[in-house]
Symmetry: C2
DNA sequence: CTATATATGCTCTTGATGAGCATAACTATT
DNA sequence: AATAGTTATGCTCATCAAGAGCATATATAG
């Protein structure tokens, strides 16, 4: 079955590792960014060294910890990006960019708090700086209704499959009965990329010598900060993944200090999912989950009643359950005329 | 930040593509397997050709479709495997296995029905042949309580962190309040691998010249069919992913024929998740979901009342919602003393 | 002591989910 | 044709999770 395969020039592939380091600080979700080759912000990346690294994960931990003095807690593989056209940063990793295809394995790592800054030329940035349309905490960003949707609708109309495009747009931007689904961050970014609504789209097409979209390029100036290579796509992947994960894994505690109030926890969740929660109900669900325990102590903020401090309970080391489409399993007695 | 990185010998990495082709046929979940180099069943794989393939996905579609005449519908990247020690099949992909590290990008693809067999030396096999402990449709496999758990407990006791191991085991095999979580297929396989309960564990350690576990190797003879390289791990990843996905994406219809009865649908879901569902409630949830529509026709099986035929409704092209940890968003009026 | 600002406690309503009884609609048999 | 056996469907109940929002409790700032 595979013997029939020709043996391509395998040596022309290079593997890089990318890591989205995320944290929540000052009620703000942040990512560690470095300066890319042309000054554009980039996600930390390094080459995968097959000799030194027994595992990708070990590789990521190694160079991240060595270069940032951050000790990574949670770490998870995101996706492996291998599209042609992401060769841009090739020059940074190899001496012969012309013939090499670079693929990169993206990772998501969570760090507790910025703990001051360490690494030179790296800094923590709000991720909403790169995705202004993803922050609904105050309210729906006006950018969406005023700029993004009109432009996307316009783009949809120009395509050969306007209906399909319209459906994708509606689904991604919460215009269906499902409403806004925060975990679709990647879908949204991809639509915007395709429609030429982000700077990268123009940059990449120009670099590839492709014909430019018939859209208005100036729109891409107001849709957030550009990143090097396809790093913004990787970041979108990370955001979407983390947002989704929050719902079925107790991963949020990887971002919390040892002690925290329920409001701290709520703010952290809100920072990540990008919208506000119902306070009383949030508390109820958290307390019922059994994931946290009162420490007994409490803290006093500026004014108002002091808040009780909580810590992660042991049970939280275990992951949590899932949910979804409704799979009604049989629980009680195997009696009755079942089946 | 990454300038500090030494430039390793990047050329010693080779990229392969693996595809788990899954289908449901005759109420049985199946995967396409080929004969591995030493006769062991393997998952179809091929080299990634950076020249010919603009994208991994295109690469996978290409060689799968060329070699099996199967047209892939749904396809999704699973995970990229890069651990040292998976060099075993290197000889198949390169002429110089000694210095090359092979990493492979795993994909999951869903095919409708086996549609007869096509490719030479490839065949569809029940995936429970490789994971007998994952099939709870009739009842909990006795293999778990009689063989697996005792052996795992034994293994846990031999380690330096028995409590941690015991917790992992309890969680993976449904011995916690969460019960059996079908999507933890990979967790279970990995535990068994670590404990030397699957043949691959012994094979790999022997090949690597490592010391063999102090466990009883004969146990690995009753824990399902062995696969080449780390393909069984990849398959476990695919199973877990698909099982989880069913709950929040309408992906099951990728496996159904144009017309189907609700029981057909139920059987397909059961085949995948590995346990039985409550019939009436399953129907209720499916019908309420709006994902299917009655065609008007009905079919008569051997005996009993004829069943109505359904088809996928247009709405199902859209994906479905998700659920999870409980994130109480504010829906109604932003009035009251909220926040 | 009063006005404010948070933290918490609770109640109500609605909808989803787990169970299982009751019927309907066919085929195979007496 | 009446009876059994079998699978499809219809429905009712009970329980629980989730969305809303009023009511109190406990501080800080005049």
């Amino acid at each position: 079955m595979n013997d029939a395969d020709p043996k391509p020039d395998l040596n022309s592939v290079t593997v890089g590792l990318n890591a989205v380091l995320a944290t929540v600080d000052d009620d703000t979700p942040k990512v560690l960014s470095i300066k890319g080759h042309d000054g554009t912000p980039a996600i930390p990346y390094g080459a995968f060294d097959p000799v030194e690294h027994r595992t990708f994960e070990i590789g990521v931990r190694n160079w991240v910890e060595r270069q940032t003095s951050l000790k990574l807690g949670y770490i998870e593989q995101l996706y492996t990006f291998g599209d042609k056209g992401r060769e841009a940063p090739a020059a940074l990793l190899t001496n012969d960019p012309s013939t090499t295809r670079i693929i990169s394995v993206g990772y998501l790592a969570l760090a507790r708090s910025p703990a001051e800054d360490r690494a030179q030329n790296s800094e923590w940035r709000t991720w909403y700086e790169f995705f202004p349309w993803e922050d609904w905490r105050a309210s729906e960003p006006t950018l969406i209704g005023e700029t993004i949707l009109p432009a996307l609708d316009d783009w949809a109309g120009r395509g050969e499959t306007p209906t399909l495009r319209a459906e994708r747009i509606a689904l991604a931007f919460g215009r269906t009965s499902l409403g806004w689904e925060e975990e679709r961050a990647l879908d949204r970014y991809e639509l915007m990329y395709e429609a030429g609504l982000v700077h990268e789209a123009w940059r990449d097409r120009r670099a590839a010598g492709l014909k430019l979209p018939s859209a208005d390029q100036s729109l891409s100036d107001v849709t957030g900060t550009t990143m090097a290579s396809d790093h913004r796509r990787i970041l979108a992947t990370a955001i979407g993944r983390l947002r989704g994960k929050l719902k079925y894994r107790a991963v949020i505690f990887q971002l919390m200090a040892d002690q925290f109030t329920l409001l701290d926890l709520q703010k952290a969740v809100e920072a990540i999912v990008g919208f506000s929660l119902h306070k009383q109900n949030f508390r109820r669900s958290v307390e019922q989950s059994g994931l946290v325990t009162k420490t007994g102590a409490s803290v006093q903020q500026s004014s108002g009643r002091p808040a009780a401090l909580f810590k992660v309970s042991d049970a939280a080391r275990l992951d949590r359950a899932m949910k979804g489409l409704t799979i009604p399993r049989v629980k009680r007695s195997p009696s009755a005329k079942q089946s």
